[in-house]
């Protein structure tokens, strides 16, 4: 295996890892805010792709479709939280898990009603001939995946670090009761967290749609997103990003060195090993129980 191949694989691994990182982020956000893992996140990715398909079909260019999809996804996220999640927020965790699964199934079934399982595509300005960097070839779409993830992470960092509402969300994640006592409207925080989360998921769908096509199964990425979030420590946004990139690299190199069968075997094997050695994940904090 030459250095060219190793670097080419690294580019490929980082780009697919960026997608996993974004899905992982989209899972961690509502979990940090409301303690709920949204198992419909995979179908949110699919929802974003199909929303882009509808808007593209109306003749809108990709750059006009992007903000519309993000706004639509945010509204969907807020509506889901307000109408379906908040009323049952005090129910056992398993109930909430099942509800999010059900939301995902409903989204997929609704998509299938009209589009069935046919594959579609949309045009995007970043899909084109590869960029040649010496012996390396970089798919511009992959570059957009990586840069998109960097931009999202930077934006989240600034939002949570420096904005008033971002700090309110962090406070709510730390201690909802204390946050409420301090005058923070935690209902708004929960809604915002879900809106951000669905926007992220839809953003992934927007990125993937022109590259891999659109069909109801593209949302199965959630499993990889979950793994990314767990590797990073489910309470850490940065950890989810690192987890996603690591997963993408592991998967790509495992496939190259050991074959297609090992593409899934190695990453999940590493996940189990990591959890045995460091159950809180790479960047998660150990839970402290006072006795």
């Amino acid at each position: 295996m030459t250095w060219r191949i190793i670097l080419q694989l690294a580019l490929s691994g980082l780009s697919i890892g960026s997608i996993y990182a974004l899905v992982g982020l989209a899972l961690v956000l509502p979990f940090k805010a409301s303690g709920i893992v949204n198992f419909a996140q995979g179908e949110i990715v699919t929802f974003g792709a199909y929303l882009a398909l509808i808007l593209s079909g109306l003749g809108l260019p990709y750059l006009a479709v992007v903000p519309l999809v993000l706004v639509g996804a945010a509204m969907f996220g807020m509506a889901t939280e307000r109408l379906l999640i908040r009323p049952i927020a005090n129910q056992p965790e398993f109930t909430l898990v099942i509800v999010t699964f059900a939301i995902g199934f409903i989204i997929k079934a609704a998509i299938r009603l009209h589009w069935q399982d046919n594959t579609f595509s949309i045009d995007a300005p970043f899909v084109g001939p590869p960029l040649v960097l010496g012996a390396l070839r970089l798919n511009p779409a992959y570059l957009v995946f990586i840069l998109g993830t960097v931009v999202v992470v930077a934006a989240l960092f600034l939002f949570f670090g420096y904005s008033k509402f971002g700090k309110a969300m962090r406070a709510t994640a730390l201690d909802p009761i204390a946050a409420k006592l301090m005058g923070i409207r935690i209902g708004s925080v929960f809604s915002a967290a879900w809106a951000l989360s669905t926007m992220l998921g839809a953003f992934v769908g927007l990125l993937l749609a022109p590259v891999i096509g659109i069909n109801p199964e593209i949302g199965h990425l959630i499993l990889k997103g979950l793994v990314a979030a767990v590797i990073g420590g489910f309470s850490s946004l940065g950890g989810a990003v690192v987890g996603g990139l690591l997963l993408g690299l592991l998967e790509t190199y495992a496939g190259a060195f050991f074959g297609a069968t090992f593409k899934n075997l190695v990453p999940f094997g590493v996940l189990i090993l990591l959890l045995l050695l460091r159950p809180q994940g790479l960047a998660g904090a150990s839970s402290v129980r006072r006795v």
Partner: protein, 413 residues
């Protein structure tokens, strides 16, 4: 003094009388229709295929094509005064679900025969059960050899030919028409694409004493093929044969071009369809493969255009990419089945249907279908495939016809 004893006798007599009465009634009903699924005015056909999951593009088309044929047949008066109806079950492209579907169709729905629009993956899960059960199963799509070999009197393969024949035609086309001696294979790990890869490999060895320079696999649902493509690139093939689903093949082709791989692509039969071109776009230009039909739905042939128009009238809300080849295949295969049912006569039984099917000679449901022939010795209806190539974003027929004698029919002699 007769009390309990006599009451007991009367009770027993009443029960026995009720039993015999019900049996007589049932027997009377059965005397009118001995075969399950056959009544004086209807014939119920059971069907199964994947209408969910990554292979749903074949099952949905199979169901819709067959339903269109049934609707037309019934509108024309049915068959021997009986109307056809179809009960459809989803197999999710899984062998276990397919078996469950067939068992339900036979044991609970009591269908007359099975019309299979499943892929090889699902179909193979049902073969042993159907062989033993004895109901006729007519397989429209699955190319796995197990459908027709070992020979079973009640199993028939319609419009699609079996995968060893694919291997013969692929090998001859690649070696003698494209003049390629260095061929790499990239195939999915499930039954059908793996069979295609195996068939091509076997036939390259049998006829040309060569082997693929590289063979790589991918998992269904994969979105990145960089590792496999780099491996293939290292072997420097002249042609890359890809066998799998259109969604994955399209991504692989685009990624190959992005990696600077300019080899010609050769594609499996399920990919010779518009759905691949929707995603692969320019990356598919120049790719070739074999179609299961003499005409693709995108053809400008007047008969195909008329067929597509009536299909769209029946299914006005279905999206782009439909109808596909599987719509046409199942439509024409349902007509082939209906033709055999008609020739089997009013006194319809499984045996008579089998005899009628075995007497089918060069039957075709118009220019859109391949001619079908079954005999008492083999039940492979079609041995033809049409070579196609992508030119200016459309699949166009290629003037290639396999000249080498097929080895397949020799085993049935």
């Amino acid at each position: 003094m007769f009390g309990k004893g006599l009451r007991g006798v009367f009770c027993a007599a009443a029960v026995l009388g009720a039993f015999f009465g019900a049996s007589f009634g049932t027997f009377s009903t059965q005397a009118r229709a001995d075969e399950p699924g056959v009544t004086p005015d209807s014939i119920t056909i059971g069907a199964f295929g994947p209408i969910t999951g990554p292979a749903a593009y074949i099952g949905l088309a199979g169901r819709d094509g067959a339903n269109l044929a049934i609707k037309e047949i019934n509108a024309a008066g049915g068959i021997n005064s009986r109307k056809l109806s179809m009960v459809f079950e989803d197999d999710g492209h899984s062998p276990t679900k397919a078996l469950a579907a067939v068992k339900k169709l036979i044991d609970q729905d009591h269908v007359f025969m099975i019309f299979c629009v499943a892929g090889s993956n699902g179909t193979l899960g049902t073969i042993d059960f159907v062989r033993e059960n004895g109901r006729v199963m007519y397989v429209s799509f699955a190319s796995a050899p197990g459908v027709t070999w070992p020979f079973a009197r009640n199993l028939f393969r319609g419009g699609t030919t079996e995968v060893p024949r694919y291997g013969e035609l692929y090998a001859e086309y690649l070696h003698e028409y494209l003049k390629a001696t260095k061929i790499a294979i990239l195939n999915g790990r499930e039954e059908y694409p793996k069979n295609e890869g195996d068939a091509l490999t076997a036939q390259l060895k049998n006829w040309y004493q060569t082997a693929p320079v590289k063979r790589a696999e991918f998992n269904i649902g994969d979105k990145d093929f960089t590792p496999q493509l780099l491996e293939i690139q290292g072997a420097d093939p002249q042609v890359i044969a890809i066998f799998g689903n259109p969604a994955e093949a399209a991504i692989a082709m685009r990624q190959a071009k992005e990696l600077g791989m300019n080899q010609q692509f050769f594609l499996g039969t399920t990919m010779v369809d518009q759905s691949l071109l929707n995603v692969a776009k320019q990356a598919a230009e120049g790719a070739s493969g074999f179609a299961l039909l003499p005409l693709l739905p995108s053809s400008s042939n007047p008969e195909m255009k008329a067929w597509v128009a009536k299909w769209k009238q029946e299914y006005p809300n279905l999206p782009a990419g439909r109808p596909n080849v599987f719509d046409v295949l199942s439509y024409s295969d349902m007509y082939a089945v209906a033709d055999a049912i008609k020739r089997a006569g009013k006194d319809l039984t499984t045996d008579r249907l089998i005899d009628a099917l075995e007497a089918t000679h060069e039957y075709r449901a118009g220019a859109i279908a391949s001619p079908l022939t079954f005999t008492k010795k083999h039940h492979i209806g079609n041995l033809r495939l049409q070579a196609m190539q992508v030119k200016n974003g459309e699949w166009e027929p290629v003037a290639f016809e396999g000249k080498r004698e097929s080895d397949i029919l020799k085993r049935y002699q």
